[in-house]
């Protein structure tokens, strides 16, 4: 009997751990909870840097989640909440920084690199296509790539 109880307690242990890990916030309804999860996943924890506010267990993430939650309860829009955090923690807290001159390189840099690479490839291929018929296969020494 005692053995069975012990087993039961052991099996229930993970359930307690789960309840501890999640910050209990009294959401009014499911929609609000979904909105909160979505918003906190778009925000970055300033302390841990590679975690979202939703994922982080740092004390500051805990406090900021509470702040976000309270602002939602007070009827603030997502943009207002983001502006509030940006004013204090800079754009660093946004996982998706706004498109503006200082972030153009970030947003368009990869596309520009892709276009440049594409142009280089096209130029090379065309040049070789022009050269290929002129080069007699017999003279090919093999070291001309």
């Amino acid at each position: 009997m005692r053995r069975a109880l012990l087993w039961l307690a052991l099996c229930l242990l993970p359930a307690f751990a789960f309840a501890q890990a999640i910050q209990p916030l009294p959401f009014r309804d499911r929609a609000e909870e979904v909105r909160f999860q979505k918003l906190s996943a778009e925000l970055r924890c300033p302390m841990c840097q590679n975690e979202t506010l939703a994922d982080s267990n740092a004390p500051i993430a805990h406090d900021l989640r509470r702040q976000v939650f309270e602002m939602m309860q007070a009827g603030k829009s997502d943009d207002e909440i983001k502006a509030y955090l940006v004013a204090r923690y800079s754009q660093f807290v946004l996982y998706q920084p706004p498109v503006e001159p200082s972030t153009w390189l970030l947003w368009f840099g990869p596309a520009v690199l892709l276009v440049v690479g594409g142009v280089v490839v096209v130029v090379q291929v065309r040049r070789r296509a022009r050269q290929a018929p002129a080069a007699p296969p017999a003279n090919d020494t093999g070291d001309d790539w």
Partner: protein, 180 residues
């Protein structure tokens, strides 16, 4: 010429990655530029540590510049920073206000009894709400706030002798020059 192209590409990548390494060793990724620099410090009203009935607010500190040092008894780096506050804070010529961040008053008092108390006044932000307004996300952090209540400088991380001599002192000197 086209034979050298791979070498050229390779060197370009070396330069790019080399820059990345250089850049990451040269700057602290935790050092997020605060948007609050040259902005008015947020309004706050916090109880004095150990005297919960006495409140200190932003207005009562106006009139002269001061350093606001965010510390906590749970903060490991604060222990490393503390000796320099103990020995050299007085020579800076501005009040040093302690900002006890998310701490139990009893723990903070015990911590100060053990390590010494370099602060002129200590305010207690137990739940960290005022800390959010200051953009605090860790401790220690240090703010220099001028006589008009504007944040002029912020240090994230412990104050080292180097930071004290090369950043904080010049920042205070600049304030004195600004307001004769």
């Amino acid at each position: 010429m086209s034979r050298l192209l791979p070498l050229f590409g390779f060197l370009l990548l070396v330069a790019l990655f080399g820059f990345g390494i250089w850049w990451n060793t040269g700057h602290d990724p935790h050092d997020i530029a605060s948007p609050l620099i040259d902005q008015p410090a947020p309004a706050f009203a916090l109880p004095v540590l150990g005297e919960p009935e006495r409140m200190v607010d932003k207005a009562s500190l106006l009139g002269k510049p001061y350093l606001l040092n965010v510390f906590a008894s749970w903060c490991i780096e604060c222990v490393h920073e503390h000796p320099i506050l103990m020995t050299r804070a007085k020579e800076l010529g501005v009040p040093l206000i302690g900002f006890n961040y998310k701490d139990e008053p009893a723990d903070a008092t015990a911590w100060l009894a053990k390590h010494g108390n370099p602060f002129d006044t200590i305010v207690a932000d137990r739940d960290g709400r005022a800390g959010i307004d200051f953009g605090v996300y860790a401790a220690p952090e240090t703010f220099l706030i001028d006589a008009k209540g504007v944040i002029r400088y912020k240090r994230i991380g412990p104050i080292t002798p180097d930071v004290l001599d090369n950043e904080i002192r010049p920042a205070i000197a600049a304030l004195v020059k600004d307001a004769p």
